[in-house]
């Protein structure tokens, strides 16, 4: 056992330093007041939390929840048929799976930039439409919620496909044969057998997608513009330009609370990650 403790020690220390201590500090800061030159000052207060209900900030939180939900739903709807295809592709399964994972391995930042290049006023879509004479002025495709959702779906589709594929792959084909034998058409089989059995994979994929979408920073920053400020951007802003660390801290903890609350609400016994 001494060996096991020695093996765990460095990671334990690092977790305490990079994860637990910082969160503790943030927690403390969220109850303090902003300092004159940034940082925090003594008078403890809950004002940072009450401010969250202010319409300006509440709008941002609701917008973030909405965008994350839509992106997750789209990932699910778009990802499920793809996962089904891969699971049924027989010998080429690994290749098809690899083709989904490959873009994921490249840079998320660059993948987000790609949509900037495609959607902006001087981008590909507008250039083609203009040269075809379909439009005269460029369409404002970028810097709105739609672009953000598109960027999120593009970024997190692999996150959704992988757990869906894992569940579909383990599906016992004889169950589908039994359903057909008992008279179910392909659509019935899908609705009444496949989807219910895939529920764990769907849950896993949905959480794996929703939580990062909720806390997204890059996608909304690059594709959303100043009109689409989400929680992530707001937090970043408090710690840099606005220099209101206590409020930023409260926001961060609110974000974490939502994420963890969601994770707990869909957890089932036996489905552990670590």
């Amino acid at each position: 056992m001494k060996l096991r403790n020695a093996f765990l020690a460095p990671t334990a220390i690092l977790m305490a330093v990079t994860m637990l201590a910082p969160l503790a500090i943030i927690l403390v800061y969220s109850f303090l007041t902003r300092g004159a030159y940034g940082g925090v000052e003594p008078p403890s207060t809950i004002e940072n939390y009450t401010r969250l209900w202010d319409p300006v900030y509440a709008t941002i939180i609701i917008r973030s929840l909405w965008i994350a939900a839509v992106a997750t739903a789209l990932c699910l709807i778009l990802g499920f048929p793809l996962a089904l295809f891969i699971a049924r592709s027989g010998a080429r399964k690994n290749m098809y799976l690899g083709l989904v994972i490959l873009p994921f391995w490249t840079s998320f930042l660059i993948r987000t930039y790609a949509w900037m290049f495609i959607l902006r006023d001087t981008g590909i879509v507008n250039s083609i439409l203009q040269s075809l004479g379909v439009i005269r002025e460029p369409l404002p495709l970028l810097y709105n919620s739609g672009a953000v959702i598109l960027g999120l779906v593009y970024g997190f589709l692999p996150f959704m496909v992988l757990p869906l594929y894992a569940t579909l792959e383990r599906l016992d084909p004889s169950l589908l044969e039994a359903a057909a034998d008992l008279g179910a058409r392909p659509w019935d089989t899908l609705m009444r057998v496949i989807l219910p059995l895939c529920a764990p994979g769907i849950r896993a994929g949905a959480i794996l997608t929703f939580v990062p979408c909720l806390g997204t920073y890059l996608t909304s920053d690059l594709l959303g513009g100043s009109k689409t400020v989400l929680i992530g951007n707001l937090v970043q802003n408090q710690f840099t330009a606005s220099r209101d660390w206590p409020f930023g801290a409260a926001l961060s903890l609110a974000l974490m609370a939502i994420a963890i609350g969601l994770l707990f609400s869909v957890r089932r016994r036996g489905e552990e990650l670590l």
Binding site: R4, L8, A12, T18, L23, L102, A114, Y154, A249
Partner: protein, 254 residues
């Protein structure tokens, strides 16, 4: 079967959606004009990249940080996964899980807050070392998950056999379990490396003025507007990472 054809067609569309944007970037990186209209083949943007000292320097920084963070996280994470497999620790598992589900922005600002607080007592500043520390912090959980998954399939009686034959606990780990973990460790290192080299959010918060990383430079270029050199950089990065992934898959199968 009609559904089979429909599904295949759909998959084609999905794969196009996933890959075409990057292909577009690649194609236009060879465009001689700076606009999104093809006007001829040119390597000028690649030459611009090669001449950009900022880009080169930040790439070097990124490589140094990613290598240091990957080595550290892989070694420590593997040991931790083994320790957890021997006997669980709910608080350590809990913090690793927390590390995975915490949004990047929250991780970033909280680590920044910690550093600023520490710097009141120790005379240090933000720099490469703070970035590396932060990167190791968020990479550990990924390594542990990958290695632990492989450990769950490991036959414990192999370790008992080694002990029975005279190997101490450490010798057993070194001579029997570690060889078995080889592929998982390689996969975990790959994962840690890509996560580190691509990180923008956390790095930008804790980097300080002297240590620009490649994502930070790319981000600045992207925000500034049209810059075809960015297409060239992007293509280079995507290509090299892609090659790296394929190579490591080959090695893994061998």
């Amino acid at each position: 079967m009609k559904t089979r054809r429909g599904l295949a067609l759909y998959a084609l569309g999905a794969y196009a959606f996933l890959h075409v944007p990057l292909l577009i970037l690649a194609v236009f990186s060879f465009n001689s004009s700076r606009f999104a209209v093809w006007q001829g083949f040119s390597l000028q943007w690649y030459r611009a990249v090669a001449d950009d000292s900022n880009l080169i320097e930040s790439s070097v920084n990124s490589l140094i940080i990613a290598t240091a963070a990957t080595v550290t996280a892989t070694v420590l994470g593997t040991l931790a996964a083994y320790g957890l497999w021997k006997r669980g620790s709910s608080w350590l598992s809990g913090s690793l899980y927390l590390s995975l589900v915490t949004p990047e922005i929250v991780t970033g600002v909280s680590i920044l807050a910690l550093f600023q607080w520490i710097f009141r007592f120790l005379h240090l500043r933000l720099g490469m070392h703070t970035v590396i520390l932060a990167h190791v912090g968020f990479s550990l959980a990924y390594v542990v998950v990958v290695v632990l998954a492989r450990l769950r399939n490991f036959d414990r009686s192999l370790e008992e056999a080694a002990l029975d034959l005279g190997a101490t606990e450490f010798e057993t780990f070194w001579r029997v379990t570690l060889p078995y973990l080889g592929p998982a460790i390689a996969a975990a290192a790959m994962l840690a490396f890509t996560v580190s080299i691509d990180d923008y959010v956390i790095t930008s918060l804790v980097a300080g003025v002297d240590s620009q990383t490649l994502p930070m430079v790319i981000y600045a270029m992207a925000r500034r507007g049209v810059n075809p050199a960015l297409n060239a950089v992007s293509t280079l990065i995507v290509f090299s990472l892609g090659v790296l992934v394929l190579l490591s898959e080959r090695l893994r199968r061998a």
